[in-house]
């Protein structure tokens, strides 16, 4: 697995140093928070609820950014922008891409705390 194509590895290392023994907890909290977000995004997409779409994507973007999962944060940002412009086009594909990217990020993070 190529960690560098999913993370800013330098930032991730720094984060690990800062969090010390609370690093596993941070990962766990991130995963607990993020797991429901994929289905929440899908639901908001089906309901054409742009406000929810935008808020969830924004929140997801912030959280993944802070864990240095920058490609994931970028995907979230794209949904946030489309939702802001009330543009449904391609959102389903983006959610699919987020689902895949998130699962990679998740397994990398979980491998770090084993």
């Amino acid at each position: 697995m190529d960690r560098a194509s999913h993370f800013d590895t330098e930032a991730l290392t720094m984060l690990e140093e800062i969090m010390e023994d609370e690093f596993p907890e941070l990962i766990q909290v991130f995963i607990d928070d993020s797991d429901p977000r994929i289905s929440a995004l899908l639901k908001a997409f089906e309901d054409q609820d742009f406000t929810s779409l935008r808020e969830i994507a924004h929140s997801f973007k912030g959280a993944s950014g802070n864990l240095s999962a920058l490609p994931l944060a970028d995907l979230c940002f794209k949904i946030e922008e489309k939702a802001r412009d009330a543009n449904l086009e391609g959102i389903d594909a983006l959610i699919g891409a987020i689902d895949i990217e998130y699962n990679v990020v998740k397994s990398v993070l979980l491998s770090l705390i084993k």
């Binding site: 930032a11 720094m14 984060l15 800062i18 969090m19 010390e20 609370e22 907890e25 941070l26 909290v29 991130f30 607990d32 928070d33 808020e55 924004h58 929140s59 973007k61 912030g62 959280a63 950014g65 802070n66 864990l67 240095s68 920058l70 944060a73 940002f77």
Partner: protein, 575 residues
């Protein structure tokens, strides 16, 4: 410091909490804007980190509300945002945020920002505390000044300043100024007027005025001469004022009967005397050092005499008038002042003209000195209201039944003037106070008769020519020097009937040979109502005047003792 972190992302909260608690701060966490507001009210955190987009109440709204609640307290709010466009960041600051931090966080910058706001917060708290202290002190001081000012005004700008022959202006500068204006009627008639200008401003300048005014009024009321009053004030100020503090003064002894003034000026600008219906202007220059500079031994009480007819006016001012500045800082100056006098303004409106000229010149600019000005006119004494001398008709207290005997030996006679002391004793009797002038005349005349004729054996016939007048005083001086024996015994007695009426008797006995009073007094009494002129003039003993002032006047023994009786209430005296 307590730091509130408001973010809806659990992982972000955890991350921030970890970083900031590592810096040694206490963390309070909130999951949305509403919780943030509640936590602010509950825990009053010192600094707030706030996510911009949050459910319930968003970050910007929460920030506005918290700032509103905080009021004057400084609560730095740092927005946490993943928004990156300039407008969004500007909105963060516009809604009351103090700074922003973009996600993903740069840990080094986050730490530095927290440190910076902690410093700012501490500085603000110090400032606020100092401001509150200053404000409390200032309030306290203003209150004290207002109370002190009320006392000061009662003391420093009082007496008979409202007399018909006085116009004056006091500048409203600050709360206090160092200018003092005092005026008092003399018990013997006439008036003492005092314009003083203490160095400096404010309370330090005003404080010296208190004892000065006390001395001025007290000694004037007791009949002391102005020279003695000045000496006393000078010595008092010299002893109480710090070095470098003194009082410039222009002081006038105005005599309505002699139509003249005696002036003492120290350190003040020239005074102007306007006479002859406003056609003649004379400036009077200060020749002395201010009061409170010289020791008593060096102090010069010499006064200059100036005659003043009815309607003549004397103008005195503190240097604040001459040094008053306009908005460009130019001084008003003496030339502008003289110009007003030379404009042929009618004397009646001259005072207002000077006032208007100064006010117009100064305009709206802040006055930087105390500007005091007074106009003193010569009038007939009868024009002055008696109110200044009439004591309040409240319950009469003070001694009513008393007597004393006071004997002055030769040494005392040579060096001591007992009149102020005698006046002081008489003035303790309330009913006698309103007769002060009259009593002073009686005591002064009878005492000087005893002293000059009885003790010094001077012949008052000498005084009938101007040359003889001078000789009389030269001889008097010489005999005082040579005096080796003698005494004067003064007896005073007062009795009152239930406080409604009373009798005061004064006896003065000297060790001299007396005189043939039976012959002279009788002769004089016959001439009482006729004009006493030529050979019949009862020179020296001044008796006709005294007769008119007393209920009775009798000589006793060989003429070396005289007894005067004064009854009160008095019948209205015919002028």
């Amino acid at each position: 410091m307590k730091i509130l972190i408001a973010d809806d992302n659990a992982s972000d909260r955890l991350l921030l909490s970890k970083i900031i608690s590592k810096q040694g701060h206490e963390i309070i966490a909130a999951e949305n804007g509403k919780e943030a507001i509640d936590s602010y009210v509950k825990y009053s955190p010192d600094i707030i980190l706030m996510d911009v987009l949050m459910p319930e109440v968003d970050g910007m709204e929460a920030a506005k509300e918290i700032k509103r609640i905080a009021g004057e307290d400084l609560v730095p709010i740092i927005f946490l945002t993943s928004l990156v466009d300039a407008q969004s960041l500007a909105n963060c600051l516009a809604s009351g945020g103090d700074d922003f931090l973009t996600k993903p966080y740069n840990f080094i910058i986050l730490k530095a920002k927290i440190d910076a706001f902690v410093r700012m917060k501490k500085m603000h708290a110090t400032l606020q505390k100092q401001r509150d202290t200053i404000s409390a002190n200032n309030q306290h001081m203003m209150h004290e000044q207002h109370v002190a000012k009320a006392v000061f005004d009662n003391v420093a700008h009082s007496g008979c300043l409202d007399s018909v022959n006085i116009k004056y202006m006091l500048s409203p500068l600050a709360v206090f100024n160092g200018d003092v204006l005092l005026a008092a009627r003399k018990p013997s008639g006439g008036m003492h007027v005092f314009l003083g200008d203490f160095t400096g401003h404010g309370l330090p300048a005003a404080i010296g005025a208190m004892p000065m005014a006390e001395i001025f009024y007290g000694m004037t009321a007791k009949g002391f001469a102005l020279r003695d009053i000045l000496r006393e004030i000078n010595s008092k100020l010299k002893s109480i004022l710090p070095v470098g503090f003194f009082c410039c003064a222009a002081v006038v002894d105005l005599s309505f009967t002699k139509r003249s003034i005696s002036m003492w000026m120290g350190g003040v600008p020239d005074c102007y005397l306007l006479s002859n219906q406003g056609t003649e202007l004379k400036s009077i220059r200060s020749h002395h050092l201010p009061l409170g500079v010289l020791s008593s031994a060096q102090f010069d009480d010499e006064m200059t005499e100036h005659s003043m007819e009815v309607d003549d006016r004397l103008y005195m001012w503190s240097d604040g008038i001459v040094e008053a500045r306009d908005s460009e800082g130019n001084m008003y100056g003496e030339e502008r002042l003289l110009e007003v006098f030379n404009q042929k303004t009618p004397p009646d409106s001259l005072f207002e003209a000077v006032k208007d000229s100064v006010n117009a010149f100064v305009g709206e600019s802040e006055r930087d000195d105390d500007t005091t000005i007074i106009e003193l006119s010569m009038v007939d004494e009868s024009e002055l209201e008696q109110s200044a001398l009439v004591e309040e008709k409240v319950r009469v207290t003070g001694p009513s039944d008393w007597q004393l005997e006071y004997e002055l030996g030769v040494d005392s006679l040579k060096h001591f003037n007992p009149l102020p002391l005698m006046m002081h004793i008489m003035m303790e009797v309330p009913a006698l106070r309103s007769m002060g002038g009259q009593l002073f005349t009686i005591v002064a005349e009878l005492f000087s008769n005893s002293f000059e004729h009885g003790i010094l054996k001077l012949d008052s016939a000498l005084k009938s020519t101007p040359a003889g007048f001078a000789e009389f005083y030269a001889l008097r001086e010489q005999r005082v020097q040579e005096l080796e024996s003698g005494f004067i015994k003064i007896k005073m007695k007062h009795a009152s009937e239930s406080g409604r009426s009373g009798v005061f008797s004064l006896s003065i006995e000297d060790s001299g040979e007396g005189f043939d009073y039976r012959n002279k007094v009788n002769k004089n009494q016959q001439n009482m109502n006729a004009e006493s002129t030529g050979a019949n003039k009862f020179s020296g003993r001044g008796i006709p005047l005294i007769y008119s002032l007393c209920h009775s006047l009798e000589y006793q023994g060989c003429g070396n003792e005289v007894v005067a009786e004064i009854h009160w209430p008095q019948k209205i005296l015919a002028e």
